[in-house]
């Protein structure tokens, strides 16, 4: 398995979060998640300015064999979405931590982010799943 980026936070739903300097958070799905889904054929993006409560559906990623919700990891407002995925959902497969980002959100309370896993903890989480 490829190296997990060290500067990201991870959830047990296999999402990653990158905390930006301006206080916003970029969300995507992990390498593990894209591999499990297979070739993505569609990403349903949220609306900009949509207000989400933790656990709400943020996006839906769809392959030919599965459709999976991407959940809002915390209470937040959507400030930007990756429009490129509309025409090229495969970006999530080819570059899940970069070009395949899904949405940018503005969290209500940033302290919740501290409770999420870092790369080492997520790596351990994945290894536990494998066993």
């Amino acid at each position: 398995m490829s190296e997990l980026p060290g500067d990201l936070k991870y959830t047990d739903e296999h999402e990653w979060l990158r905390i930006e300097e301006d206080g916003t958070v970029v969300v995507g799905i992990t390498e593990h998640a894209q591999e499990a889904l297979g070739d993505l054929v569609y990403v349903e993006l949220p609306e900009i300015d949509q207000i989400l409560t933790s656990g709400d559906g943020l996006a839906v990623v769809e392959s030919v064999k599965a459709a999976s919700d991407v959940y809002a990891p915390l209470d937040a407002k959507v400030t930007d979405v990756n429009e490129a995925l509309t025409d090229a959902p495969e970006l999530v497969n080819s570059d899940p931590y970069g070009e395949g980002w899904i949405a940018r959100i503005e969290p209500e309370d940033r302290s919740v982010l501290d409770e999420l896993m870092d790369a080492d903890a997520y790596q351990a989480f994945l290894e536990k799943l494998e066993s």
């Binding site: 070739d39 054929v41 769809e62 392959s63 030919v64 495969e90």
Partner: protein, 490 residues
């Protein structure tokens, strides 16, 4: 040769003249009151072809299908049994075909009597108190059933009951239906013998429980042995029991859902009662109800009176959950089921369950002896059973999908693959009672050949199918570059 689309055969000015009315359009519309602003001015893609071209095109297309009439079709959970020809030809008698659904009951007594008798026979084989024939497919039968459960609780002022329990092995339609009815789905785990986990069930039921949706025998191909206990637990908690009739063929004439404690059931007439699957419909999902749900049955239902048979509607059943179709449901399918049931009679009904079970257990024993891994080796098969190819997937990278495709080249339709989701790399195999021992033996021979190829010539299996009109299709391309309608100029 690649078959062209009918549109590509179109030539301007060609016309199947004999099939159309005589008078030409211009003459007819000359003084028509239809306003110009509402008239059509653009062309459609409808082809300009001859009758022979049409007949040949669609006959050739039919020949690109596997079907029960041409191939053994052991598709688990679908009950692909022989569809007797008489059922088709008799359901298509002009008296039935030409009758308008809103025609007077005085001109429909033959049909209504037949439907009434069908309701009575279905009550008898399921042990229920009332039957409504109107749901047009299994999934609509499910929707009807859950809607009736909901109506029952509401009528009693029991408004908190909005949770439907569904085993994790259930058909996808079960949770989808519960959601469509505005209910919350609570998933129940299955134990390692394929039965519902009773401890989990006890923990899950409560004052919010509307009911449970069960298939018995379950989708795992085994009979739910503690069904009476389950009924007691759910009823004890104030919930009702819904029976998904997907696997009714396994127990027809041997055990009845009504006797097991179910309050409502749907039957797939296109499975158990041998109406055709038609390339994916029409089906029919008649529902049966116990006493508690009788007032809520969907309308119309056929009733009997001194003056003959008539439709019961809103006036007769004011608490009905309502109408599910524009008229009365899939009448033609119901006629076929009736004819089938009359030819089988009481004795024949019983033999359906018996021989479906014998065939499944025989096929299971033969495949086990040939080295295939059974999902539930300790259990009897119902009318179907599961083998898992997880070993060959791991050791030889031959998956259930690969074997399914290779079976097509062997001349067999593939069993159901990757369902139920609980068993990895599974094939769900349902031979049905209408296949003879010779056919089952040929299937076993083919499976043995494929098991040998898995070890010796895996590439050949990966390449399959090679004898079909097309080889494996690019599903990702189909979904990403959506082409779902031909347009002129394509």
């Amino acid at each position: 040769m690649t078959q062209t689309l009918i549109f590509e055969a179109s030539r301007a000015g060609r016309f199947a003249e004999a099939q159309a009315p005589l008078d030409s359009i211009d003459m007819l519309l000359q003084d028509s009151e239809i306003p110009q602003a509402q008239r059509r001015s653009d062309k459609t893609v409808l082809p300009e072809v001859s009758e022979l071209q049409v007949v040949r095109h669609y006959t050739q297309l039919s020949q690109k299908n596997f079907s029960i009439d041409t191939h053994f079709y052991p598709l688990g959970s679908c009950t692909m049994k022989y569809n007797p020809r008489a059922c088709n030809s008799l359901a298509m008698l002009p008296g039935f075909l030409n009758r308008h659904p809103l025609g007077p009951e005085s001109h429909g007594q033959g049909f209504l009597k037949t439907m009434f008798e069908l309701q009575e026979m279905l009550k008898s084989v399921t042990g229920m108190q009332g039957v409504s024939l109107t749901p047009m497919a299994g999934a609509q039968g499910e929707l009807t059933g859950v809607a009736m459960i909901r109506a029952y609780h509401r009528a009693r002022g029991d408004l908190a009951r909005n949770e439907i329990l569904v085993p994790d092995a259930a058909h996808g339609t079960n949770p989808a239906t519960a959601t469509m009815c505005g209910c919350k789905v609570v998933e129940l785990p299955t134990d390692n013998q394929g039965d519902v986990d009773i401890a989990a069930l006890k923990a899950a039921v409560g004052p919010n429980t509307a009911g449970i949706m069960l298939t018995n025998p379950s989708t795992l191909g085994v009979f739910e042995r503690r069904i009476e206990e389950i009924a007691e637990i759910v009823h004890g908690a104030g919930g009702l029991l819904y029976y998904d009739g997907a696997n009714l063929n396994a127990i027809l004439g041997k055990v009845r859902p009504g006797d097991m404690g179910f309050d409502v059931i749907h039957m797939n007439l296109h499975k158990t009662f041998s109406t055709p699957h038609g390339g994916g419909g029409p089906g029919s999902g008649a529902v049966g109800v116990g006493k508690r749900l009788l007032p809520y049955m969907p309308i119309p239902v056929v009733g009997e009176s001194e003056d003959g048979y008539r439709w019961l509607d809103e006036q007769d059943l004011p608490d009905s959950i309502g109408r599910l179709s524009g008229f009365m449901g899939n009448a033609g399918v119901l006629l076929r089921a009736y004819i089938y049931m009359r030819m089988l009679g009481d004795d024949g009904m019983r033999r359906v369950g018996e021989f479906a079970t014998l065939n499944a257990n025989y096929l299971m024993a033969r495949l086990r002896d040939a080295g295939f891994e059974l999902a539930f080796p300790e259990r009897r098969a119902s009318h179907e059973f599961i083998i898992t190819l997880r070993r060959s997937a791991k050791e030889h990278h031959i998956t259930a999908m690969d074997i399914a495709k290779a079976l097509l080249d062997e001349g067999f339709h593939a069993p159901t693959t990757y369902f139920p989701l609980l068993v990895p790399e599974c094939l769900l195999i349902e031979p049905t009672e209408t296949e003879g021992k010779e056919m089952l033996d040929l299937f076993v021979d083919a499976m043995i050949r494929l098991a040998e190829k898995t070890v010796n010539d895996a590439d050949a299996i990966h390449a399959a199918p090679i004898t079909m009109p097309v080889r494996r299709l690019d599903d990702v391309k189909a979904a990403r570059e959506l082409d779902i309608a031909w347009r002129a100029g394509d």
